[in-house]
Symmetry: C2
Subunit: 332 residues, 2 copies
């Protein structure tokens, strides 16, 4: 099993760094004084392994790419650590590895180091994947929450809740059917496009004035916005009517008693930026296949500090708190 | 649980990079044209979590440090991904995290990014930890198997088999007792000392002539030596009488029917180097607390190629093959 799996990975992820097969990958990049490293890790335990729109492999690559991309850096190198329950069907592994390889090839990143552990039956639930990633960034792209001021706008690139709902439906715990597929996608290209607006000679130096980006995965939009304001001298106000959500997602959430604001997304990014820069960035996002549904969904407010306030469709307002624990476990 | 654990990790591993708590760690190192990156990953699934001489946490840090150290680079940044079975005692996690924090502090590395996933009861066996690591190396240190020639010596820094046997005994599957403790230890300092012999002005430029280093973990010394010769134009001959092993380990292996050559080590390094440089390197190793038991255990031979030959104590010789699969699962 072990040998088979290693053979599979070596073949699917082959590149000149991985092929060396040393204890560590040797990365001879040409550094510059303007560059810096970003480093991230995530373990993926999604259940089931396959869901509409993706599988644990696609998720493991996209998730780690996105954690780097939202820092404004280019993801370049990825590690893959597999914990496999003994007896897992080889075909399942081959399919999942193929999903990973496809995103890797499409995105121009490289899996440069990996590890396989096989544990006894019932010591793990089929398959867990850890991916860590390294990106190299440009020091001139300086995202900082400290630059955020009241009036700054909040943008999201598309409708919320689709990943969480797709996984939930695939799990079969609830008696409902849906056509919803996960939004799982790698965001590097979309994000690099809006960041690089800055470099366009025809635009003012201040464009795009982006101060914060985050992918609203586990815990959804509500959690990301709470993390945004946590410990800061500002709050955020969002407008329920402007938050993009598919009718089907809304209906399913209501039926099941879930709040879509807390549902995981895997192809969404929340962007906070200067008010005057919101329109050109929004336009650029809407011209991208992964940003067609982009919307300004709110703005930074002076008071109440550290709170997320939602202006509801019926004209009221409510505080959107941080959830304690996960609304849904093993969604990513 | 989730919140508790994250709080624990943030506190135990606190450093200026981790404390930023972004999606990715931002590492603003000052690169030079002479530097390069090494990147490695390993998942740890050792069973039991605690064993004489260590625990899964110490192992997860030492193992990843060693994978970098044997490349001749300095380990600097580590990621930690935890997959926790619901209901695992918080005190156990606190102890394991403390072990990790101690090695991290002692070695001057930093845990800069992390992730926690809690899965349902029976979906994982207590705790798995993935650590990935980044080291930064000096391009002047050029380890390459291609430089190896017949006559080169093979050194190991101490007795074999102790980690594997300690874990096995702790597991309680076999009815035997032993005082053996795991050799689990971080090897950076030892390895940097022998590498830096090169820089000493009183030594010739060729010292220490090191061409290959590897930590003989899963699959033990036999596997590492087989990996050394695989695909190369040489073989390796080792002398049974010179391979350091404690009498207790030897006796226990014979009793249980295991071959100590395949037993995992977690604080050992195999070094292949030019014959003329073996003595000064050996002396340096023996002067180090983690190298007191260093021995020349063999040499590179022209024929048979790609084979590991052991000269036995009684004057015969036998081929040491690669094992198919693990002799013992979940030993690391």
């Amino acid at each position: 099993m072990h040998e088979l799996v290693e053979g599979l990975f070596k073949k699917k992820f082959s590149n000149e760094i991985l092929d060396e097969l040393a204890d560590s990958a040797v990365i001879k990049f040409l550094p510059s004084k303007k560059s810096y490293l970003c480093f991230t890790t995530d373990s993926y335990t999604v259940n089931p392994l396959f869901f509409p729109g993706g599988d644990i492999g696609k998720l493991a690559i996209c998730g780690t790419i996105n954690d780097l991309a939202v820092m404004g850096v280019k993801p370049l190198f990825i590690s893959a650590g597999f914990i496999i329950e003994e007896g897992l069907d080889y075909e399942i592994l081959a399919k999942i590895t193929q999903s990973m390889a496809e995103v890797v090839a499409q995105e121009g990143v490289k899996v440069v180091t990996g590890d396989v552990k096989v544990v006894e039956k019932n010591s793990a639930d089929k398959l867990f994947i850890n991916t860590s990633g390294i990106g190299i960034g440009d020091r001139r792209v300086n995202l900082s929450k400290k630059e955020i001021v009241p009036g700054d706008k909040v943008i999201i690139n598309g409708p919320i809740g689709e990943h969480g709902l797709a996984v939930l439906a695939a799990r079969g715990d609830f008696d409902f059917q849906t056509e919803i597929i996960s939004d799982c996608a790698p965001l590097t290209d979309l994000i690099q496009k809006i960041i690089n607006l800055r470099k366009s000679p025809s635009k003012s130096a201040a464009i795009p004035g982006i101060k914060f980006m985050r992918d609203p995965t586990r815990g959804g939009l509500a959690t990301t916005l709470n993390e945004l304001v946590d410990g800061m001298d500002f709050g955020v106000s969002i407008y329920e009517k402007d938050i993009p959500i598919k009718e089907e997602v809304n209906a399913a959430c209501e039926l099941l008693g879930f709040d879509s604001l807390y549902m995981a997304n895997e192809g969404r990014v929340v962007v906070v930026l200067a008010e005057g820069d919101a329109e050109p960035v929004l336009e650029t996002m809407r011209n991208h296949p992964l940003g067609k549904g982009s919307q300004i969904i709110g703005e930074i407010i002076k008071e109440p500090k550290e709170k997320v306030i939602m202006k509801t469709k019926i004209g009221g307002s409510r505080i959107i708190d941080m959830l304690v624990g996960d609304q849904l476990p093993r969604i990513c």
